[in-house]
């Protein structure tokens, strides 16, 4: 039987699925054991117990200085920034994206500029950004917004343009004004895509968050990683990276569930 026609039992599928993860863990354990055998103080691949210690210290022991649980403080700080940045970017994408997609004048005015802006590497402009925005939360949130909003705006505007022209004309024959077309025809149809666009930007948003926190912050997941990087404290970095990955994966999954729940019609075959 051709490989392409093979079918797997659910059991075999589940086993296969976990294999690479198991392999990764085993490879880590092996690498760690080898390095530690050579140099017991090696910090690059700490032993599991060291990792557990670090997790315990960061997440379940109050910091003697501030009495805070650093891991959770960092998480809250980062998630707050991320939520603000992504929320703002989403709002901008919705408003600007819909306006650019719907209105020929705005499209002529802004589409090329947004295309240009989306090509600017935001990291290179960090100094200017920090000087204009100050260093508080604003600049970190702004970096996330600058990093992800142009792409989301383009995505949304494209989605609006992809709506069949027939729908717009049909709405006009149902007496809709431009405003009402936006409100009742375009908006509900681009919202699912907005959630999808948001999901696609989770990775980049985390990237910009980490980059911004690396420059100026006093808490946050990226801040911590960069702080302990000077000491090569991989026992802290690995759990933090795993945690970021998990958070991103959860957000990704949650947003997809949310879309299905809020917009059941967007799941139906042929509805797009």
């Amino acid at each position: 039987m051709r490989l392409i026609n093979q079918r797997l039992s659910p059991g075999a599928g589940a086993v296969l699925k976990t294999l690479p993860f198991v392999a990764l863990v085993l490879a880590y354990l092996l690498g760690s054991a080898l390095r530690l055998a050579e140099n017991p103080n090696d910090k690059l691949l700490p032993a599991l117990t060291t990792l557990a210690d670090a997790i315990d210290r960061m997440a379940f022991t109050a910091d003697p200085r501030s009495g805070a649980y650093l891991f959770w403080t960092d998480t809250l700080a980062s998630l707050g920034r991320l939520a603000a940045g992504l929320g703002l970017a989403t709002l901008i994408a919705l408003l600007v994206g819909m306006a650019v997609g719907m209105l020929p004048v705005l499209r002529a005015l802004l589409a090329p500029f947004i295309g240009f802006v989306s090509m600017v590497p935001p990291l290179a402009l960090l100094p200017v950004l920090f000087i204009v925005m100050g260093l508080g939360e604003t600049s970190k949130i702004t970096l996330i917004v600058i990093g992800v909003a142009p792409i989301m705006v383009r995505d949304l505007a494209q989605k609006v343009l992809d709506l069949p022209r027939e729908q717009i004309v049909k709405a006009e024959t149902l007496s809709a004004s431009t405003w009402l077309i936006g409100l009742r025809v375009v908006l509900p149809q681009v919202l699912p895509r907005l959630l999808t666009a948001l999901r696609l930007q989770l990775g980049p948003a985390f990237l910009f968050l980490i980059a911004a926190e690396a420059i100026s912050a006093d808490s946050g997941l990226g801040y911590r990683i960069f702080l302990v990087r000077r000491y090569l404290s991989m026992d802290v970095i690995f759990p933090y990276v795993a945690w970021i990955t998990l958070l991103a994966a959860l957000a990704d999954y949650g947003l997809d569930r949310l879309r299905r729940k809020l917009f059941p019609w967007s799941e139906l075959e042929g509805a797009r």
Partner: protein, 277 residues
């Protein structure tokens, strides 16, 4: 009572002349079937009637007044596809027009107004045979049901002119027959003029009061760009079909008919043997 006059209309896209000096008087309550080869400009003509496109030269009058330059609630439309909104249920789709018309800011009705409207919409839904499917989304309907829905949605606005662009082209023959009967009934009952584009001559003869064929008069390749299409045939159905009155061939309860028989006996015959397509 809603006469359409198309007077010496030309339509050009850049260098290409699509329609050439088209003149057509459409009487109130007519059901005009527009036929012609692919690409001859049927959809373009419909778009101009809709107000979505403007004639390059000439003018189009609705009851003697020039057409407004954009689509509005006096002219309804049903396309072959994309005529209903995928994000609204059947009920939501049918209620949309009146809701928009009554609420210029929110586009939504609430409370008693909403309930009254919903009742009205349910009646219309039942009239097109979709009772029971009110809560479904279009993607959950078959093609024929979607086109019924599109009709119901358009008819809620009580349009003076209903424009149909191959509305039943994608349907299976059996379903098409059924929807023809529905269409005929609606046209009989509602005070509107219908212009329908179709590729299907049988459909044209089944439904129309008049069949208008568009075509290019010159068709050598080098002439294609420079000469547009115009009216080449204009046939009135005989015996005349008049809105609201049953003709000899139009049965009263057509749903009971057997599909095959429906196929075998076209409902209208012509004075002139057609060889249009």
């Amino acid at each position: 009572m809603t006469a359409l006059s198309i007077e010496n209309v030309w339509k050009e896209y850049g260098d290409q002349i699509v329609l050439e000096n088209l003149t057509l008087e459409i009487a109130p309550r007519s059901f005009v079937a527009l036929v012609g080869p692919s690409g001859c400009g049927k959809t373009t003509l419909l778009r101009m009637l809709l107000g979505q496109e403007q004639p390059t030269r000439g003018r189009i009058l609705l009851d003697g007044t020039p057409l407004p330059p954009e689509p509005g609630p006096d002219r309804g439309v049903v396309y072959q596809r994309y005529s209903v909104f995928p994000h609204l249920t059947v009920l939501g789709n049918v209620m949309l027009g009146p809701e928009l018309q009554a609420n210029r800011l929110t586009g939504r009705s609430f409370g008693a107004a909403r309930r009254a409207l919903a009742d009205q919409a349910r009646e219309m839904i039942a009239a097109v045979g979709l009772a029971g499917a009110e809560a479904k989304y279009p993607a959950q309907l078959s093609g024929g049901m979607q086109q019924r829905l599109a009709l119901a949605q358009a008819l809620m606005m009580k349009p003076r002119v209903l424009l149909l662009d191959e509305p039943f082209g994608a349907l299976d023959p059996g379903i098409r027959t059924e929807i023809h009967h529905l269409m005929k009934r609606l046209w009989n009952e509602l005070p509107m003029t219908v212009v329908m584009v179709t590729h299907d001559l049988r459909e044209a003869f089944t439904l129309g009061t008049r069949i208008v064929a568009l075509d290019r008069t010159r068709s050598r390749p080098e002439e294609l760009l420079r000469y547009g299409a115009t009216v080449t045939k204009d046939i009135a159905i005989w015996p005349p079909r008049v809105a609201g009155r049953a003709t000899l061939y139009d049965t009263e309860h057509p749903q009971a008919q057997d599909d095959l028989t429906a196929f075998a006996s076209p409902a209208g015959t012509t004075r002139q043997t057609p060889s249009l397509i």
